[in-house]
Amino acid sequence: MRCNMYPTIFGLYEPSSIYDTLDFLDNGNAKIIAGGQSLIPMLKLRVIQPKFLVDLNKLRGDLDYIEDRGKSIGLGSLATHAKISTDQIVKSKIPLLSVTASKVGDMQVRNLGTLGGSVSNADPSADYPAVLLAYDATLTLISSGGERKVKASEFFKGPFSTELKDNEILREVEFPVLEGYAYKYEKIVRRAGDFAMVGIAVLAKVSDKVEDLRIAYTGVGEKAYRPYELEKELVGKKVTRDDLEKFAEKVSATLTPPSDSRGSSSYRKKVAKIATIKTLSEVLGVVS
């Protein structure tokens, strides 16, 4: 029947509540399935061989919310990329997330893939991690032992590695509403629908000078990266093209991109530099 890739045999647990899920995870040797858009390829390649899958989609009604809390927006981990990219609250209150969601994979992938799945998976080239860093988002993790909140800057540990323990699930991601910020997600790919070779998420508050700047990168290191110290060099200034070039040069020098099928390390550093200049000129309104 199938000479091609097939997952190893596994069992299945369909929970009826989040608490069931957490109790089951305490037994070990189980993996959560959300959209399956990263998990199923990994199961097929047999790089993971869990004894059980736990189908989180049974809890969709409780976990795919998008909640306007005034100063922040809370998104349940099961919100799909498609839902995030078309939701009006996200579009008007946290627009950088909205535009980024519409650039994840392709339409079919966006119909299934979820925010929580992407963030938990922590692919070093995934799009959301950079956006979470730029917003300084807060993640809520839950286990049978209780709930804890973690900042995006502490959540991502390395390639496919996060703060999540095996018996924990990501319940939600909360984004602060930043009023009056310009934004852009610049994604450079080799072909449509691919992961980012370089991805840059920018949020900036600009008057006659730059009042706040948050710039975060994906695809150019072990995990998403935000040059907090260098950002400060552009704040409080009326930024010129020359400033941008110096800034981009310095950022590029700190990056440690991998060499892989998406491009060599040195090429990615060059692309990151040019893309930084281009993206920031646009967001900060710098004319060259």
Partner: protein
């Protein structure tokens, strides 16, 4: 509900208007469920890695790649495959693909048409950019895409 490793899980799905109920392994992919257990072979497997879109079907109103979905995830769902879009005659999207020479070998075509079906349902009047954005998860090795884009525009016109 607990299904131990090696046990089967009951999957009930409505495909093209008909309910089917089968016991399958949890690891069975939806595309194999559709092709082998139900016997509808219009849906193709091109890459098996969620890259090519040949396996695209509509599940609960949304286009998905059935090679990257387990059959158990479709339990209770309504599914439409290429066999289910026209009645006794071709669907306008199928007509448009035929009339615009939007296929050569035809292997990608069921997926292209199902994705077009979803695209035109969410956006009945897409621009060329929107068509490209909507279809870039579907790969065609033959046509060079130009006639596919023409066909989608034509189909949008026919369906208005």
């Amino acid at each position: 509900m607990l299904v131990r490793p090696g046990e089967k899980v009951k999957v009930k799905v409505k495909v093209n208007g008909i309910w089917y109920e089968k016991e399958v392994e949890p690891r069975k992919l939806l595309v194999h469920f559709i092709r082998e257990d139900i016997g509808l072979t219009g849906t193709k497997i091109g890459c098996d890695t969620s890259t090519c879109g040949a396996c695209t079907i509509i599940m609960n109103g949304k286009s998905v790649k059935s090679c990257t979905l387990f059959a158990f995830q479709a339990n209770g769902a309504e599914i439409t495959t290429i066999e289910g879009i026209g009645d006794s005659k071709l669907h306008p999207i199928q007509e448009a693909f035929k009339d615009n020479f939007a296929l050569q070998c035809g292997y990608c075509t069921p997926g292209m048409i199902m994705q077009t079906y979803f695209l035109l349902k969410t956006n009945p009047n897409p621009t060329e950019e929107e068509i490209k954005d909507g279809l870039h998860g579907n790969i065609c090795r033959c046509t060079g895409y130009q006639n596919i884009i023409k066909a989608v525009k034509d189909a949008a016109g026919r369906m208005r």
